[in-house]
């Protein structure tokens, strides 16, 4: 029984039979042959999910050890790696919980593996102590946190950006953090590789924050050619074993790292330690250790910070947003610019260390800053700190914590309020 309530407007018809892929004119054939060759060299455009991009990014960065406790909305990372790692000689372990997971990836890293785990808010909270242990023992590893609504178990399938501050301050004892924050599937792939690279280079636990929507979202994406993917491996000691210091340093505060089994003797402890890793309570040695942890981040800030500026050249209003919220902002900017409103976007790809200098410089030129975020106000404090020259009424915020995204219209509304 077929019926329709309204008449249908005329629409372009598709051919009944698809055009057969017959021979083409010769000029076109050469071109398509070229395209074909090019396609063979590059990777094809495919449809890929954010979590999938993280998993394949990890593999392409050389990750060969994953231990985790699968949790929505990060499950696909574990699912894919459980299938792919064994095929490539790597190891996948499903652990009993997140505390065990973080400990396992730290242990694996000390044997020379590139290790990674993926979790979400509730698991991320449990991992905090281990993250601190990775930082004080300067053990490279990567934690992927696909953020969901909280607190506690919250709403497993709804987005929120509530872990921005936790990613920096979650672990006790005041240590600097490296946290990356992508806004697209392609960038999830790229920043996963970067996270693994930075972990290896700076000997620390690097955190990759994703939004639930991005983890689950599929997008057409052309991944960069493997030949152009840069992979960094940790520096190995070249000195004879009896000269080796586990926490030695060069001018850039980066030190070589031996693996268990290489013949180098070292001690790994969460207690404040000397350069060989043995516990110390001498204030001089304690200060030296803490300084090294701080300086290896602050002396390399230009290598760590990445920021995208979009339509900022003549902007009078700037939006500062990260992750999925930045995509709503871009759409809002397209709409606002169509109406002649001069507005632009600043988006941190590295959220910690915070891109202080770049943000301060770029926000000096605008009259108003809008900070939309899916929480009750986290990034806004950083922006207020950097815009002391502006009054509070010129630094505005849009906050949402109901499991829904901030839409382009919400942002456009705010833009129109200030002009």
């Amino acid at each position: 029984m077929l019926k329709t309530t309204a008449s249908k407007s005329t629409k372009a018809k598709t051919p009944k039979t698809p055009t057969p892929a017959g021979p083409k004119p010769s000029a076109q054939r050469t071109k398509s042959k070229l395209n074909e060759l090019q396609r063979d060299l590059e990777r094809k455009t495919i449809i890929m999910q954010g979590n999938e991009a993280v998993a394949y990014g990890a593999l392409d960065a050389g990750v060969n050890f994953f231990a985790g406790y699968p949790i929505t909305p990060s499950t696909e990372v574990a699912e894919i790696l459980s299938a792919e790692l064994p095929k490539r000689g790597g190891t996948f372990i499903q652990m009993e919980d997140e505390i065990a997971s973080i400990c396992a990836i730290i242990g694996a890293s000390l044997t020379g593996a590139k290790s990674l785990t993926a979790t979400s808010g509730p698991g991320f909270s449990l991992m905090q102590e281990g993250i601190g242990f990775a930082k004080i023992t300067e053990t490279p590893c990567v934690v992927v946190d696909v953020q969901r609504m909280g607190p506690s178990t919250g709403m497993p399938t709804s987005p929120a950006q509530g872990d921005i501050m936790q990613a920096k301050w979650g672990s006790h004892g005041d240590s600097p953090a490296i946290v990356l924050y992508p806004d697209s599937v392609k960038e999830s792939y790229e920043l996963t590789i970067r996270a693994v690279n930075l972990a290896e280079k700076y000997r620390t636990c690097v955190i990759l924050l994703l939004d639930e929507v991005l983890g689950h979202m599929r997008e057409s994406v052309r991944l960069p050619d493997m030949a152009t993917v840069r992979v960094i491996n940790r520096i190995k000691p070249t000195v004879p074993p009896h000269w080796y210091k586990h926490y030695d340093e060069n001018q850039k505060y980066l030190s070589p790292l031996a693996s268990f089994g290489d013949g180098y003797r070292f001690h790994v402890s969460g207690l404040t330690h000397d350069v060989h890793g043995f516990p110390t309570s001498k204030s001089g040695e304690a200060a030296e250790m803490m300084e090294r942890l701080r300086k290896k981040i602050s002396y390399n800030i230009r290598d760590l910070v990445q920021i995208e500026s979009y339509e900022m050249d003549d902007a009078k209003i700037a939006i500062f947003a990260a992750g999925i919220t930045a995509r709503a902002a871009k759409e809002a900017i397209v709409m606002a610019r169509y109406e002649g409103i001069k507005v632009g976007l600043l988006r941190p790809l590295t959220i910690w260390p915070f891109p202080d200098d770049a943000v301060r410089k770029m926000l000096r030129a605008v009259d108003t800053v809008i900070v939309p975020e899916l929480n009750q106000g986290q990034l806004i404090h950083e922006i207020r700190r950097l815009t002391k020259d502006k009054s509070d009424s010129d630094v505005l915020t849009i906050q949402r914590v109901n499991g829904q995204l901030i839409t382009p219209n919400d942002i456009l509304h705010k833009i129109k309020e200030v002009i």
């Binding site: 029984m1 077929l2 019926k3 329709t4 309530t5 309204a6 249908k8 407007s9 005329t10 629409k11 372009a12 018809k13 598709t14 698809p18 455009t45 495919i46 449809i47 929505t72 497993p156 399938t157 709804s158 929507v213 689950h216 979202m217 599929r218 997008e219 057409s220 999925i324 995509r327 709503a328 871009k330 759409e331 397209v334 995204l405 839409t407 382009p408 219209n409």
Partner: protein, 181 residues
């Protein structure tokens, strides 16, 4: 197509709407369009609400969720009631009359078919409702090519179910043909 085209596939968990979204998104990639596919669903694996958004465009897609749909497929009354008012005036509405009994507002292009009933009677299984209705949607909106949809189905479903789903696709096309002048 150069403009942003927003499609929302909505219903309840277990009807295969997210798979339908993936199939449509993959078909759009095969047609060389830019595409994003997002979803929202409750924590349960069956029942509860479920929706998949597909946005197809030839320019960069920034915001990945549908807010003002060009096309809405509603397989349950609840989904229809919830999303109908976000369909744009010129948009296409496709509803499954097996479950959608009341229509608060008739869009210009409204198609009413008992998809679940047809899937059950003609294909022997209600689980093909997603592909049946998706094929219908593709044919009436011309949003992706038939060939790409077929290739996408073959890549997206388990090998054992390819034939059944292609049968559902052809039936969906046939149902849509009857609306063509």
């Amino acid at each position: 197509m150069t403009q942003r085209y927003e499609i929302r596939l909505s219903g309840s968990g277990g009807q295969g709407l997210i798979l339908a979204g993936i199939i449509l998104a993959r078909a759009a990639v095969l047609d060389d369009h830019k595409v994003t596919q997002t979803q929202s669903y409750g924590p349960e694996s069956r029942g509860g609400y479920s929706r998949a958004d597909v946005i197809i465009s030839d320019r960069e897609i920034y915001f990945p969720e549908a807010t003002n749909f060009n096309c809405l497929l509603a397989l349950t009354q609840e989904a229809c009631d919830k999303y109908l008012f976000d369909l744009r005036d010129t948009g296409t509405l496709i509803i499954d009359t097996t479950y959608v009994k009341n229509l608060a507002l008739a869009a210009d292009n409204t198609y009413e078919l008992p998809f679940t009933e047809i899937a059950q009677n003609d294909l022997g299984s209600a689980i093909t409702t997603n592909v049946l209705s998706l094929a219908f949607l593709v044919k009436v909106t011309d949003i992706v090519s038939d060939k790409s949809l077929e290739a996408s189905i073959a890549r997206s479903v388990k090998p054992a179910f390819i034939d059944l789903n292609l049968k559902a696709m052809r039936l969906g096309f046939k149902l849509a043909e009857s609306y063509r002048n």
